[in-house]
Symmetry: C2
Subunit: 458 residues, 2 copies
């Protein structure tokens, strides 16, 4: 970031906040009304600004209490813009640094700003402030940021294209399988699959030269690098899930590993998980993936009270073993907004994360709501539905990539038919794994979408 | 983790959930009542369990609706334990794996469990379930986990010892300065200082052989390794803040960098930040640190409505520049619990993080509460109080370590007196930085505290 790389490029905020500085103009077309018509702390009366109209896009500007209303064919609906918002959103070179794009003052530095004039000209909204500062807002800026529904802003961040799509087997597209070579060539389809559905099986990830240990070398590192940045944990940058052939206690491998998420005992569990199959010489051992957001949405449809108790009750997780002592509590259903009232009462509230990992659950608080026990039972039943289970047995070279904050993973029992013939202690199943943060994946996806120019067909 | 390192050690959950399996006992002293006295779905009537008493610690057991009440000198208050909680908390080897400590069933697998007997014996609570399963709870387990205040559990995780302590200059202890050699010898005091106050100045961190670039080598890597694991971001594992002597535009360096936090446009901003001074040949450039939680607590005392609006209103941050496109919204004051009602109305609600970074703020939503503008002004005023500013000019070898989710940082203007004499473009100020996650720091601190045996004097 520029703030770190070269401070000589920066203009500090404090030096630019003085109201006594001469006003600086964006361009020669900016109207200039340096003489304030209103005292600093008097709000402009509604009648002080004459109604202006522009022929562009049938734009019209109506004065309102503490702001203006802007309408025209360019906007889906009339926009009410307060003077507070307009002053705070000024994009001039004194207010937003032209190269770093950093905001050069703080919200609250201009409380109750006093305008002296507001007008439409050259396809832009011009506001002249009583302290001499001029602001100019392009229609593109207003359309992106001033719509109270937030839709245009969200689209400009590609939130609609990248939005999570709850799935069961009938809705999981064939794009969940992708070749490593095709990701290297064009990663965007895989990025979108991962962001939308939280599950991706990459075939043909180089595995032959993978070595044991936290540093590799390992093909999964190359795969991780295509997605984002590795998040190291106390298990290492890379870790191994290894099963050894041991005919004397073969019974021990005949087991399930139930649906769970990794590292829920951390404040911030890793977001994306990769499991790369290096060796598979066993029967069984099928991987299972379930969309925990789909199950939560269905719980909301079927049993609102259970949904709410799972959204409001912190569940403790812990790991006190093996020289470590971690613990953290998370609600099972972590909402984007802290309140439960959805904007649209027919749609479930937006879910940020699911936090579900029975094996790492600590004893519950003794006074926890009795509804938690039944709500977790109902949720487990929804997670167990056959139509929600994507089952796939990883072949050597396959890499499962999934969203550890949303998609649960499990593994069925496996056994080694050749246990009595092979050499005891020989490795018969080996997965190499790592975690990746999501912010870089989101960043890369947005940049690729912006380069593409159009999201048609995606 | 064992789950990853050797699956042959695991017993899966599903195989162990069958109620028809023969019961397995913890020890020979466990009372055995295999014949159920109650049908599976009938709750035990209050009178079904005779009152038991034990001479140990004056323990006594009282049957209650759907549970028992346990009292005695061992506990600060009588404990109400529901059968739901008791069955879910069973610690026997069938329910919690003896070596991995993983829970082997799911909460909700035993809804409305039916007891057939409950008793005190050998200093433990014994519950016999109607399905044949026996549970034994040691008094230590009950004292740690069954207190509804949660105090004993919190103490067992050292939460009281590590708790954040809001500070202004009068309360910031001299332990904020520590020598690198002393951290290497005994890191615990530095860990506690960092967790409690969020600020630490480490002196004498090797800087002579530090190289530019994201891979180093760099002394700050060694310092980071003493605290936890480096969190890589798109700025690299390590990054450089470099100012070059350039007499032709010396004016550009005469600037403030106002109070901010790094990377607020990420879903998960990095937690701990390190800034290691490699070179300092300028005047000024003092670092400033402010406890944003102290200011938030003071806002709560002075203006409850402003506190609440800052806790409930997401503020958008963005970074759309330089080939990147990141954005995320966070409330300025992020509470531990989503609701605002504190358990104790005379104490501010617990704060998880502060999210405050005016330079990276995106345009606000146009319909944002008008109170946000005044609330952010009040908060900025509290942050600006001289008594809250810890100012320190980093010398070469000093490393500032601070909690980027709580402590704001800033830098005053600096200038180069020798600009006209020295070689233009020569580096006159160079900081090397990196980020570290907090979960490992918490883990290491708890392990050291447990080894110490006593927290007296800490």
């Amino acid at each position: 970031m520029n703030i770190k790389m070269n401070t000589t490029m920066h203009r500090g905020a404090s030096a630019l906040l003085g109201l006594s500085r001469p006003a600086r103009f964006i361009s020669a077309t900016t109207p200039r009304h340096l003489v304030a018509r209103a005292s600093r702390y008097r709000c402009l009366a509604t009648t002080d600004i004459p109604q202006r109209a522009s022929t562009d896009h049938n734009l019209s500007l109506q004065p309102q209490d503490n702001g203006v209303e802007l309408s025209g064919s360019f906007f889906p609906r009339p926009l009410k813009l307060s003077y507070d918002w307009l002053r705070d959103s000024c994009q001039c070179a004194e207010c937003v640094h032209p190269s770093t794009k950093q905001k050069l003052f703080r919200t609250g530095d201009f409380v109750r700003p006093v305008p002296s004039d507001a007008s439409l000209a050259q396809g832009a909204l011009h506001v002249q402030w009583a302290d001499g500062h001029p602001s100019v807002f392009s229609l593109d800026f207003i359309r992106r940021y001033a719509d109270p529904t937030g839709q245009a802003r969200a689209s400009s961040h590609f939130e609609d294209v990248m939005a999570r799509r709850p799935w069961d087997l009938s809705r999981l597209p064939s794009e969940r399988f992708v070749d490593f070579a095709s990701i290297k060539n064009d990663p965007l389809p895989a990025y979108l699959q991962l962001l939308r559905y939280g599950i991706l099986i990459v075939r043909g990830v180089p595995h032959e030269s993978t070595q044991r240990g936290p540093e590799g070398p390992a093909g999964v590192s190359e795969m991780a690098g295509l997605l984002g940045l590795v998040r190291e944990t106390f298990y290492g940058k890379l870790w191994d899930v290894i099963s050894a052939r041991a005919s004397t206690n073969i019974a021990y491998t005949n087991l399930n590993l139930d649906l769970h998420m990794d590292l829920q005992y951390m404040q911030h569990p890793p977001h994306i998980q990769l499991l790369h199959c290096i060796k598979n010489r066993v029967e069984g051992g099928t991987s299972v993936f379930v969309d925990a957001i789909k199950a939560a949405n269905d719980l909301w449809e079927q049993d609102r009270a259970s949904f709410e108790v799972l959204a409001q009750t912190p569940i403790p997780f812990h790991y006190e073993n093996d020289g470590h002592h971690l613990h953290h509590s998370h609600p099972t259903i972590q909402l984007v907004h802290s309140h439960l009232e959805p904007a649209n009462p027919s749609v479930p509230p937006r879910i940020a994360h699911i936090n579900y990992s029975p094996p790492f659950q600590a004893p519950l608080p003794p006074d926890i709501s009795p509804l938690v026990y039944t709500a977790l039972r109902k949720y487990a039943d929804l997670l167990a539905r056959p139509e929600g289970r994507f089952e796939y047995t990883l072949a050597e070279g396959d890499c499962a990539v999934f969203d550890n904050r949303r998609v649960l993973h499990a593994r069925t029992a496996f056994w080694d038919k050749n246990a009595r013939e092979g050499k005891a202690e020989e490795t018969n199943r080996w997965l190499k794994g790592c975690y990746v943060e999501v912010d870089d994946l989101l960043d890369r996806t947005r940049v690729l979408l912006a380069k593409r120019g159009s999201t048609a067909g995606l």
